[in-house]
Amino acid sequence: MIVPVMIFSINVQSPPSSQASYSAYQFCRALLRQGHNLHRVFFYQDGIYNATNLAAPPQDELDLYSEWQKLSKEHSVELVVCIAAALKRGLLNQEESIRYNKAGHNLAEGFTLGGLGQLIEAAAVSDRLITFGN
């Protein structure tokens, strides 16, 4: 049986404290293992909290923040964080930090801020769009 290679995009709407974020991550790993294409992971709602560079999880717990970054690096996956959701929750890159006159910035390397249009564009070019919600 020939398995078609597909283009996936993933919509993560859950915070790191919800297992849905972990499920999204494992789903991404699995689809890449099978040779599918992961076009984009879009972080929306409380999902944006996955993209901080200030987290220090306990040594004996999974560091999902780093896992997202490794995933992005190893497979050149775009990790896009909804900018409106991020601003209102306190997740900023340097540019937005300056624009809003904030004391610092905390968007982790490997993640970029982008508009909701990036979720829609992902839908437009992908064969499958899967939501992980909480």
Binding site: V3, F8, Q19, A20, Q26, F27, R29, A30, R128, G133
Partner: protein
């Protein structure tokens, strides 16, 4: 043209599965994951409805990792198929789209 439905809430506390069951038709499939795997228990609310759907040809799946984590492996209904993350991906390929009930 059929839909894979995922449900990640326990039917003991949340009615998402109830709504999913209402909408599910013919060649659709249902995947229980995260706290949704508690709905795979024989004693769960909607257990009878799930089995009825299965007899109509709708496949019911539960994510094995979540089932094992929660110590449910030997407690779930016989008609429910346990699958891996890899098989979860295959399901999303074989169905035409995914609706997440949460």
């Amino acid at each position: 043209m059929s839909t894979l439905h995922t449900v990640n809430k326990s039917s003991f506390t949340n009615r998402a599965l109830e709504s999913c069951i209402l909408i599910c038709r013919s060649s659709d499939g249902i995947l229980l994951l995260e706290d949704g795997v508690f709905s795979a228990l024989k004693s769960a609310p909607n257990a009878t409805a799930l089995e009825a759907l299965n007899q109509q040809g709708i496949h019911i799946y539960a994510l094995l990792n979540d089932v094992k984590a929660r110590a449910l492996e030997y407690k779930i209904a016989a008609h429910i198929q346990l699958i891996s993350y890899d098989e979860f991906v295959s399901l999303t390929v074989n169905f035409n789209r995914v609706q997440s009930w949460y």
